[in-house]
Symmetry: C2
DNA sequence: GATAAATTTTTGTTAAAACAGAAATGAAGG
DNA sequence: CCTTCATTTCTGTTTTAACAAAAATTTATC
């Protein structure tokens, strides 16, 4: 990925700016490719992430704030995101008996099965995105990214 | 930035996934911090980028497709984005005389002045974001990011 | 020159995100 | 108990983005 080529500039930009633009461009690429991979399942990346979090709960229900905590991109409308998964039958939602302010959200069998399919295409896409990296380079990259 | 801590997971995830989540988290941080820095000027990051592109034109008008080409995040609604800058008096827009399909967009004096102010806070924010990097590390990071 | 095709921008519609505030419930203190 | 405050979720509103199609103009072809 050549930053200057993509944003069609010949100017030399400060290394700091270039780095941040670079990250944004890569993020756009990730978002687009994984979004496309998920399109056949009619779920957004966010919905996919929620499903993965729910699976990670291993049967323990999650409430909305737990979901929000663990989501990569936080948002205030997690309610409506879960609404959509509910409409697809991928999750169940009910009021928490011990604290009726909270809700309990669980992935359904149908959601689990769909998620297994999604995992495959997403993993493929992820591998495709990082295909030019050696394992060592990825480790090095992660170390550098940790500095943010 | 500790990925595992932010998304509150203790599970060991594949290096490929961790890298991509990492990029997304950093992007969110960049977007949030620069967005906040621009808030006093009531422009979005996208609007700020358009203004910078227009300044880069050095008086030469840009049409919408040129803007789109050079934008970091492409979008189909550049028209409406320019509408907003127009409403703030930061740009001028008129039909291109030599090809009446096109429009010519120019940054105004007022836009230039505002942009100078924005540049300051954005540069400060950018430096803040990469404050834990040495110049050498930034170069190394850019080399790795080029591999995407 | 008329017709078809291509380019560029605009508009309409729907979906998603951001922001703020309301509603419901629970906890704490008098 | 009653009031106040805190927590959690939901709802309403406004922006922004994504997608598709329409409108206007130019270019190409017959």
């Amino acid at each position: 990925m050549n930053v200057e080529e993509i944003i069609k500039t010949s100017k030399k930009m400060p290394l700091e700016s270039r780095t941040l633009i670079h990250i944004t461009l890569i993020h756009n690429k990730i978002y687009e490719l994984i979004g496309n991979a998920l399109k056949p399942f009619e779920v957004s990346l966010q919905q996919f992430n929620v499903l993965r979090i729910l699976r990670g709960q291993k049967g323990k229900p999650a409430n909305l704030s737990t979901l929000n905590d663990r989501m990569v991109t936080k948002m205030s409308n997690t309610t409506r995101l879960v609404d959509k998964l509910l409409a697809k039958g991928y999750v169940d939602r009910c009021v928490c008996p011990s604290n009726r302010r909270k809700v309990e959200i669980l992935i359904t069998e149908s959601g689990s099965q769909a998620l297994t399919q999604m995992d495959k295409v997403v993993a493929e896409t992820e591998n495709e995105i990082v295909q030019h990296f050696t394992k060592q380079e990825l480790e090095q990259l992660n170390l550098l990214l940790d500095k943010f």
